[in-house]
Symmetry: C2
Subunit: 316 residues, 2 copies
């Protein structure tokens, strides 16, 4: 790799581990640190497991042993961060904790190191260090990041343009679609769209219009499947001859009328949440939750594999 | 097939043609009619083309020639509908046209025939015939129905329970997930959820928080991919240890706060629609629109094929 330096990861939970894997698979040397030694131990195990799974679905770009060799588990934040091109922070979703982490990272890095936080809801202006705010930003991935290969980039008011561009390049090199969010807004974009769906979904169940499992089926086999090959704008653009303009003309007012029919602004009551929970627990008892997560990931790997395959595969 | 009667299709556009294909592939004899003879001619061609594509992705249950033989193109509504177990109406989305069609269908069918409309937004109480309202309902599919294998069932206040149950069984036999919507509501459920996403998406673009193409990328590679393997409730249930209850406790108020930050109730202005259209036309000029639709369908077939495959496939 010559003069090119490494990527540092702070936090060895599922998010940090996934970032380590993605960067190493793209050929970056990675140093991962966690204040909790047991998290680091688990991380090594999870990395091995993920490599095997990704390999099985031909989703690994590099040789498994090369990927493993590129990931170094280190015992201090300084070793992980010092001299890194980018440090990916993936600590707990808590303002004070992130403030401390960013203070520490600022102290052990030079002005050439980008500091990116995986915060999923807290804007970075609430926790970045004043001395490194210009080289700090949000790099919020989907969950699980090693399978939802997308990251939203959100600067704070002090973030330099160059920081966002460079971070975007690095994430893209790691195989992620880097998407630019132009200013700090509650929930960024990913969780705002998820929130819009959840508020509508809870309102529909609350009004007894549909059962929770039926709503999930409708999205999984219908809307979600279609959104996995065409985003919301592309979807309606391809649904109406004449594209977006024709769609908005024909359907715009109907979509606004719909909004009025149900109140989605009400907080979800305990009774409503309990109703949805009851449906989910019938489908997946809590003791089978880990298996259900693993099954979801297997399905995601099948879909990812299919995206890049040529044509149909025979099953018989 | 012995005493079992056929399925009638009224309307040979893309929706009607898709239903013909689904029912025939499930072994039903199908009779399809359209008042426009040229639509019927096109339909025969489209059916042949779809059969070839579905076969390529191992998405056909039956033998191609058997499917073709089961679909009969007929020259009157009477021949299509008389004696059918179910007539699927897939005419224009227009109240008066549907009123006339349902009047005609009532006249040529007995009380044993279910009349289902593919209306995507108009509740059936606005167009069903008083004499057949008890055996009429909405069977609204996703688009394209031969690939989004889901249908929402919505009765009108007169629809008999038995009608909804029997229609659900028939759709399920045709390989569709039949989902029950308990009462007539603007947009039913499918388009209400799509509307929630579109209103949020337009508001985000309108506030210059994100570019339209970036928003589509975020959904396609992130949220949409995940929703294609787990519906909205299942998704958050599997995102937080402890499931739905833990998720609502930890995230509920954040999702409600988000709603306040942007006004999604504003009509989409011409300028806003033009901005989104401009992005889409750069990606897909209108003269390539048909090809883009065909490409989307190919991607959908790959994903459907992957859903039912065992494990990974190698690409090299």
């Amino acid at each position: 790799m010559g003069r090119v330096s490494h990527v540092g990861i702070f936090g060895a939970g599922s998010i940090g581990t996934a970032f380590a894997l993605l960067f190493a698979d793209a050929g970056f040397a990675v140093r991962i640190f966690d204040p909790d030694p047991s998290a680091l131990e688990r991380s090594r195990h999870v990395i091995d497991q993920r490599i095997t799974e990704l390999q099985r679905f031909t989703l690994l770009a590099s040789n498994p042993s090369e990927v493993r060799e590129l990931i170094e588990i280190v015992s201090s934040a300084r070793t992980a961060a010092s001299g890194a091109i980018l440090v990916q922070e993936a600590g707990p979703e808590d303002v004070q904790t992130k403030q401390h982490i960013f203070e520490d990272l600022t102290a052990v890095t030079s002005d050439e190191t980008i500091l990116a936080s995986a915060s999923s809801a807290i804007p970075s202006s609430r926790f970045v260090d004043v001395h490194s705010a210009f080289r700090s930003l949000i790099g919020h991935p989907g969950n699980p990041p090693y399978l939802l290969r997308v990251v939203e980039l959100v600067g704070n008011p002090s973030t330099e343009e160059q920081t966002i561009l460079r971070a975007g390049q690095l994430y893209e090199q790691a195989g992620l679609s880097a998407v630019r969010v132009n200013r700090e807004v509650d929930g960024f974009v990913f969780n705002r769209i998820q929130g819009a769906v959840l508020r509508e979904a809870y309102a529909l169940v609350g009004a007894e219009i549909i059962d929770p499992m039926d709503l999930d089926t409708l999205v999984q086999d219908g809307l979600g499947l279609r959104w996995s090959v065409a985003g919301p704008f592309a979807t309606v653009d391809l649904n109406v001859r004449g594209g977006i303009t024709a769609h908005a003309e024909r359907m715009g007012s109907a979509y606004h009328r719909m909004a009025g029919a149900l109140d989605t602004s009400k907080e979800w009551t305990d009774t409503l949440v309990a109703k949805v929970n009851c449906s989910r627990r019938k489908a997946v008892p809590l003791e089978q939750w880990d298996q259900a997560v693993a099954d979801r990931d297997t399905q995601l790997m099948k879909q990812l594999n299919a995206r890049t395959s040529n044509g149909g595969t025979t099953r018989d």
